[in-house]
Symmetry: C2
Subunit: 300 residues, 2 copies
């Protein structure tokens, strides 16, 4: 079983507007609510692929109840750790005119030491085959929170900043930063060099998401570039989460890297075409699986 952990889960609210104009009043034509946070989105993608996945997330207050209700309605296997604070919201504004996607993220509520211990215990009891730790750490969580969850478990880590750096001590099998997150924690502009830095600090492998340019994977078995068949326009919000879903599935099936990367790029494109984060266009996914280009790179 794959277990995803989302310690700073959110209720994602999506507004569709005619066009986003700063300093103006907008009427939301369409309002949608769904459970979110990176790990929840990863679980949603894995569920769509029929994988055996279980989501562990925090939830508190009325917004946490709304999150729980939506997870149930979506049929996702999930376990919610009750917290005293109120679950945060993220608001996504989709412009029907130009397709722009503008996000407003609330900071998350703090968690207590007891709540964090409960979350840790839930993960331990599930004894996951592959663990996915995704998203930011909430205020109050220990700085090395992800490292302690990951230690001794085959894991994918998708976070940024200090939580990413501290998480490396747990020796995750794969970390998945995007180019900006990688630059931020290493200070290096070259993604391949920066990835090797993270491997020296504890990452088993590093898969860097490069937006429309696809993925760069730096692993002990070699370095690969995986690129999509063509450009796509849509909502890129959940694209990184789809990559993480593919990485977790590949780890659980012990697939070779080129296979994993092919699926990751195809799923990422399928997420761009899905209307909301966590949605994937399965028809695109199956078509694109054959079209993704994966080639080994020379070590620089």
């Amino acid at each position: 079983m794959i277990v995803t952990v989302t310690p700073n889960a959110a209720l994602d609210v999506t507004y569709t507007v005619d066009g986003l104009v700063p300093d103006a009043v907008h009427r939301a034509r369409d309002v949608r609510h769904r459970a979110g946070g990176k790990g929840v989105n990863v679980a949603r993608v894995l569920h769509a692929l029929g994988a055996d996945v279980h989501a562990i997330a925090t939830a508190g207050g009325p917004t946490g109840s709304a999150l729980a209700a939506e997870l149930g309605a979506a049929g996702l296997a999930a376990e919610l750790v009750p917290i005293g604070g109120e679950t945060r919201r993220t608001t996504t504004v989709l412009s029907a005119v130009d397709g722009s996607v503008t996000l407003f993220n609330e900071p998350g509520p703090a968690v207590t030491a007891m709540e964090w211990a409960l979350l840790t215990e839930r993960v331990r009891r599930r004894d996951p085959e592959v663990l996915v730790c995704a998203g930011s750490l909430p205020p109050g969580a220990p700085a090395d929170g992800y490292a302690r969850l990951i230690e001794g478990r085959k894991s994918v880590l998708d976070t940024s900043g200090p939580a990413l750096l501290a998480g490396l001590a747990g020796r995750p099998a794969v970390v998945k930063p995007n180019a900006a997150e990688l630059r931020e924690v290493t200070g290096l502009d070259d993604p391949a060099r920066a990835a090797r830095e993270l491997m020296r600090a504890g990452a088993g492998a590093v898969v860097v998401s490069l937006g429309a340019d696809g993925l760069l994977a730096v692993t002990p078995a070699g370095t690969w570039r995986a690129t999509p068949s063509g450009p796509l326009s849509g909502n890129a919000t959940g694209a990184g989460d789809a990559v993480v879903a593919a990485l977790a599935l590949g780890l659980s099936r012990l697939e070779p890297w080129p296979e994993i990367l092919r699926r990751a790029v195809a799923l990422s494109g399928a997420a761009v075409l899905g209307p909301l984060a966590g949605d994937v266009d399965l028809a695109h996914y199956h078509r694109e699986l054959a079209a993704v280009r994966v080639r080994p790179e020379q070590e620089s």
Copy 2:
């Protein structure tokens, strides 16, 4: 007592961001929640002035509970009509960089005939000296809902489109459209001519808010222009509600028009300087009361 009615009340959420950039991800530095909707804002301004005011609004679901809690904490005398639908949210994004104010308004939940009848009954029982009907009518409310509330009562009507046109049949003492709302319902570009159209259709007087240019009042006693002492920068969201508060207070005190308009312009500026809709900067209000210019206009 002044009673304000807000049939499509909202929980106003305000995010402060560093700058609003379409197609980008924003972290809300500061998140504030308060009860809103035009009538609630009007009541908040009147409460700040020490007036005897009572707010009647709809509230439903967890968002309605949050609205009720905030009203209570603010010390506003209010009566909430429970509805089965969930109270809507409005999201205001304040840019700390350029001061822009961008709003996203959810459509309101529908009300049933029973819920509307309950709201009507609450107004009847309060027997207001002055009634303020403000904001949009929710789906499910009768098209002439405001007209029936207003009929036989000294009232201020602040709404737009079909709700405004239908509301005129109740013969409100004053209606307060802005220039765009006035143009929309009359098809006329000249505010004075358009105002006289609304008076022929039932309005006792028309006070048109012209943004930074102040107010134009067309009344049976004469026509006046009231202009602020100078330009202000701030959050103009609640400025119209402050004007309505001044109109209601003036009607309840039977003040002469120049006096009412002076207070309306001063309060409107005080609302622009207040951080959130419904807040007024009382120091500015008192200074500006002496500085507002009110002059009679020739009938055209």
